[in-house]
C-alpha cells in the first residue's frame, strides 16, 4: 500500500459524529413518544402522539443502520468490539425496535387489541432507549480488549453507571418527545405536554448532573481531561445549562417552537462534552481513532460516494418533514 497523501480519519470521525447526533436527535423525539405513551391523558392524545411521528420514524431509524454500516466501513475495530461486548444489550435494543416498529403499524388497525400495541410501543421504545443510553455509558466506562478482541464477559457492560446513563437517555428522550409534542400538537394534548416538560427537565438535569459527577470516578482519563487544566471546554456544560434555562423560560412563556430547539441544544452540547471527555479514544481505554480506522483506500472509496449521495439524502429528509409540517389535529392527522 502506498502512503496516503492526506489523512481521512479526522473527516470520518466528523462524519460518524454527525451521523450519531443526527440519529439521536431524530429518533430521540420519536422514541420519546413511546416513553411518554403510558402517561398520556387519553387515547386521543396517543393517536396524536403517534401521528406526529408516523411519517418520519422509518427514515429516522435508517440513520441507525447507517451508523452500524458506517462504523464497519470507517472504524471497524469499534464495530468489532462494541457489538460483542454489548451482545445482550444489542439484542434488547433490536427486539425493542422491532416491537415498537410493528406497533406503529398495527395499533391503528387494531380495535379490541389496541391496548396490546400501546404496550408494545411503550415497552419497545423504553427498552430501546435504555439500551442506547447504556451503550453510551459502556463507552465511557471502557472495554476489556486484548489484541483487538473483546475478552470480557456477557454482562460486564451492565454496571450501576450504565444503568444511570440508560435512565438518563430515557429521561432525555422523554424530554425531547415532550417538547416535540408541544411543537406539533394543540389543545389538551399540548397543555399536557407543557405540563410535563418542567418536571422532565428537572429529572434530566438531575440524572445528567449525577452522570457528570460520577463519570470522573468511573474513568481516570475523563477526570484528568476536565480537571487537570481548566480549558475552553468548560463552556460546554455552561451551554447545556443555558439551554435548560431556555427550555424552562420558553415553556413559561408558551412558545411552541423554542422548547424543542433548546432541548436539541442540550443534547448537542452534552454530546460534544462527551466526545471531548474521551478524545481521541474511540475504544477506551486503549485504542484511538487512528488505531481503530479502516484502510485509507476504503475510507476514500466510500467518502467519494457519500459526498455525492448524502446531499440528496438530506434533501429527501427535509422534504418529508416539509410535506408533513404543521400541527397534528385530533382525529384528522396530518396536513
Amino acid at each position: 500500500m502506498s502512503e496516503p497523501v492526506f489523512d481521512l480519519t479526522y473527516i470520518w470521525a466528523a462524519i460518524m459524529a454527525f451521523g450519531v447526533i443526527m440519529y439521536v436527535l431524530m429518533d430521540g423525539f420519536d422514541l420519546g413518544q413511546g416513553i411518554l405513551f403510558p402517561f398520556a391523558p387519553d387515547e386521543e392524545s396517543r393517536d396524536i402522539m403517534m401521528n406526529s411521528v408516523a411519517p418520519v420514524w422509518d427514515g429516522n431509524e435508517t440513520w441507525l443502520i447507517l451508523g452500524g454500516a458506517g462504523l464497519l466501513a470507517a472504524f471497524p475495530l469499534v464495530y468489532a468490539v462494541f457489538l460483542p461486548a454489548l451482545y445482550i444489550g444489542v439484542f434488547l435494543l433490536l427486539a425493542g425496535l422491532i416491537f415498537r416498529g410493528v406497533a406503529f403499524e398495527f395499533r391503528f388497525k387494531a380495535r379490541t387489541s389496541k391496548y396490546l400495541w400501546n404496550w408494545a410501543f411503550a415497552g419497545g421504545s423504553i427498552v430501546a432507549s435504555f439500551a442506547q443510553g447504556a451503550v453510551v455509558g459502556a463507552y465511557i466506562q471502557g472495554f476489556e480488549v486484548e489484541n483487538m478482541r473483546y475478552v470480557g464477559g456477557a454482562l460486564d457492560w451492565l454496571t450501576p453507571f450504565t444503568v444511570l446513563t440508560g435512565l438518563g437517555l430515557v429521561a432525555g428522550y422523554g424530554l425531547l418527545g415532550a417538547t416535540w409534542l408541544i411543537l406539533k400538537s394543540e389543545g389538551k394534548t399540548q397543555a399536557w405536554a407543557y405540563k410535563i416538560t418542567p418536571p422532565l427537565l428537572v429529572a434530566v438535569l438531575v440524572v445528567f448532573g449525577a452522570i457528570g459527577l460520577y463519570t470522573p470516578y468511573v474513568d481516570q482519563y475523563v477526570s484528568s481531561r476536565w480537571f487537570d487544566e481548566i480549558s475552553i471546554a468548560w463552556i460546554l456544560p455552561v451551554l447545556v445549562l443555558l439551554c435548560a434555562i431556555r427550555v424552562y423560560t420558553s415553556v413559561r412563556s408558551k412558545r411552541d417552537g423554542s422548547p424543542f430547539v433548546a432541548t436539541m441544544g442540550m443534547f448537542v452540547f452534552t454530546y460534544l462534552a462527551m466526545l471531548y471527555s474521551k478524545w481521541p479514544y474511540v475504544v477506551p481505554p486503549d485504542y484511538t481513532f487512528h488505531q481503530a480506522a479502516s484502510a485509507h483506500e476504503s475510507q476514500l472509496f466510500l467518502l467519494l460516494g457519500l459526498l455525492f449521495v448524502i446531499p440528496f439524502v438530506l434533501v429527501y429528509t427535509a422534504w418529508t418533514y416539509w410535506v408533513f409540517r404543521g400541527k397534528v389535529k385530533a382525529g384528522v392527522g396530518y396536513h
Binding site: T62, L66, F91, F106, K109, Y150, F301, V323
Partner: protein, 464 residues
C-alpha cells in the same frame, strides 16, 4: 451438555437471514410489477390498472414493513456473532454495506411514501416515477448485498496485510467471479416470486368469482411473463452451476452427491448421502447425467467430495436435497408456464379449476425455492465463511459463550414468531378484503396518517 456457540450462532444466523430473505424476494418482484401497472395506468388512463396498482401496493406495504424490521437485525448480526470475520473483511464489506444504505435504503424510504399516499398529492408523472424509483431501490439494494455475499463465495480483488483484507481492486472485488450469475439468478428468482404470488392470488379471486375481469388481466400478464422467465431461470441456473463448478468444485460435488472424482457420473434423482461412510445409499440416477450437464460429455470429469478431507466437506445431505428441491420447483414452474400457454384458447387459463388451484398452491413454491437455493449456496460454502480462506470457527466472536448465543437464539425465535403471526394475519386480512374494499374512499385520517409501510393497508386487524 456443552453449548457450542459456533453451532448456535450458525443456527441463529441461518434463522434470522432466512426470515429476512423471504420478504425482500417478494418485495423486489412486486415493486417491479407495481411499477409496470403504474406505467400502464400512466399511458392508457385505464382505471383497471390504477385499481390493481393500488391494491397490490397495499400488499406490498405489509411485506415491506416486515422486511425493514428484520433487516435492521441483519445489519448488526455480523458484528455480534461474527466479529472477527467482520473486522477482517471490513475494508471491503464496510463500504459495500454503507453504499447499500445510502444508495438504496434512503431512496426506497423516500419514494415509498409518495407511491403509497401521494396519488392525489403529486402529478401523475411524479407518482409513476416514484414507483419506478422504489423498484430501482430494491435492485440497487440487491446489487450491493449480493456483491458482498458473492465476494464471500469467490473472494477477489483483495490482499491480506497483517491479518486484514485490503482492497487492491474495487472492480475485481465488487464484480467478483460469481457475482453476475448470482445477481441475475436472484433477480429472476424475485420476479418469479412476485409473479407466482400475483398469479396465485388472482386465481383465488377468480375462483371465488370476485372482480373476475380485473384479476384476469393480472393473471394473463403474469402468465405471459412466466413463459419467458421460468425457462430463463433454468438457463441462468445452469450458467450459475457451471460458474460454481469452476470456482467451488466441492460445493458442486455436494450438490451432485458425488464422492469420487471421475467421468460417467450419473445425475442422481434420489439418494441418501452418508457422510460418515463417505458414500450414498439407495441411489437412483440417470446414467452419465451429471457429466452431461456439467461437462456436456458422458466422459466428463465431475469433482468428488473425497478430494478434500472430511472436515473440509460441507454437510452433504443438506446441500444435496436443497438443490433438488430448488431445481424440482424450477422445472415445475416451467410446466405451469407452458400449460398456461396451452390454456390460452377460450381463456381456459381462467376457467379450469384444476389449473387455478394449482396456481394457488404454486404461490408458496418460490419462497421454498429461494430458501432452498440459499441453503445450497451457504451450506455448500461450509466450513468456510470466506471460501477457501476463513472458516466459520475462525470468524466467530471470541467472547461469545454458548449461553449468550442460546439466549439470543431463543429470543429471536420468540420475537419473530410473534411478529410473523401478527403480520401474516394482517396480510391475509388485506387479501381477503381484496380489490373491493381496498378502494372504499380513503378517509382523510388514513390519507394523512403516514408515509410509512404498513399504514397503507388500512383494514382492521381483528375479525369482525
Amino acid at each position: 451438555m456443552e453449548l457450542d456457540p459456533l453451532l448456535l450462532s450458525r443456527i441463529q444466523f441461518a434463522f434470522v437471514v432466512s426470515f429476512h430473505a423471504i420478504f425482500p424476494v417478494f418485495t423486489i418482484g412486486l415493486a417491479s410489477f407495481i411499477a409496470t401497472l403504474e406505467g400502464l395506468n400512466y399511458r392508457t388512463r385505464n382505471p383497471v390498472w390504477e385499481r390493481l396498482a393500488t391494491f397490490w401496493a397495499k400488499v406490498f406495504a405489509v411485506v415491506f414493513g416486515m422486511g425493514v424490521v428484520s433487516g435492521i437485525v441483519m445489519a448488526f448480526q455480523f458484528g455480534t456473532n461474527w466479529s472477527v470475520f467482520s473486522h477482517t473483511s471490513a475494508n471491503f464489506l464496510g463500504p459495500v454495506l454503507s453504499y447499500e444504505v445510502v444508495t438504496a435504503f434512503f431512496l426506497e424510504a423516500a419514494f415509498l411514501g409518495v407511491l403509497l399516499f401521494g396519488r392525489n398529492k403529486v402529478p401523475r408523472g411524479v407518482h409513476f416515477a416514484s414507483a419506478v424509483m422504489v423498484a430501482t431501490g430494491t435492485f440497487i439494494s440487491s446489487f450491493w448485498i449480493l456483491s458482498a455475499n458473492s465476494w464471500m463465495q469467490t473472494p477477489a480483488g483483495v490482499e491480506m496485510v497483517d491479518g486484514f483484507y485490503h482492497v487492491v481492486s474495487w472492480a475485481d472485488a465488487i464484480f467478483n467471479a460469481s457475482f453476475w450469475p448470482r445477481f441475475f439468478h436472484m433477480a429472476l428468482a424475485s420476479f418469479l416470486t412476485g409473479s407466482f404470488v400475483v398469479a396465485g392470488v388472482s386465481a383465488w379471486y377468480i375462483m371465488q368469482g370476485r372482480e373476475v375481469e380485473t384479476h384476469k388481466k393480472a393473471l394473463s400478464m403474469t402468465l405471459w411473463f412466466l413463459l419467458i422467465a421460468t425457462p430463463a431461470q433454468v438457463v441462468i441456473g445452469d450458467i450459475h452451476g457451471l460458474n460454481t463448478l469452476e470456482h467451488q468444485p466441492t460445493k458442486v460435488a455436494a450438490m451432485e452427491g458425488n464422492w469420487e472424482t471421475g467421468g460417467n457420473v450419473p445425475l442422481l434423482l434420489f439418494a441418501i448421502p452418508d457422510q460418515e461412510a463417505q458414500t450414498n445409499h439407495f441411489e437412483i440416477g440417470i446414467p452419465n447425467g451429471a457429466s452431461w450437464i456439467l461437462r456436456h460429455d458422458a466422459e466428463g470429469v465431475v469433482p468428488g467430495l473425497k478430494d478434500v478431507p472430511q472436515d473440509k466437506q460441507p454437510p452433504v445431505a443438506i446441500v444435496f436435497w436443497a438443490f433438488r428441491i430448488m431445481v424440482g420447483i424450477g422445472l415445475l414452474m416451467v410446466v405451469f408456464a407452458v400449460v398456461g400457454l396451452f390454456l390460452r384458447r377460450n381463456e381456459n387459463y381462467a376457467k379450469k379449476r384444476w389449473f387455478l388451484n394449482g396456481l394457488r398452491f404454486m404461490s408458496f413454491s418460490p419462497f421454498l425455492a429461494v430458501l432452498a437455493g440459499w441453503f445450497v449456496t451457504e451450506v455448500g460454502r461450509a466450513p468456510y465463511l470466506v471460501y477457501g480462506q476463513m472458516t466459520h470457527a475462525e470468524g466467530l466472536t471470541p467472547s461469545l459463550t454458548g449461553g449468550m448465543a442460546l439466549f439470543t437464539l431463543i429470543g429471536y425465535i420468540v420475537v419473530y414468531a410473534l411478529v410473523f403471526t401478527a403480520g401474516s394475519y394482517y396480510l391475509m386480512r388485506v387479501l381477503r378484503d381484496g380489490l373491493e374494499k381496498s378502494e372504499t374512499t380513503v378517509t382523510d385520517d388514513e390519507l394523512q396518517r403516514a408515509k410509512r409501510p404498513l399504514s397503507a393497508a388500512n383494514s382492521a386487524i381483528e375479525w369482525e
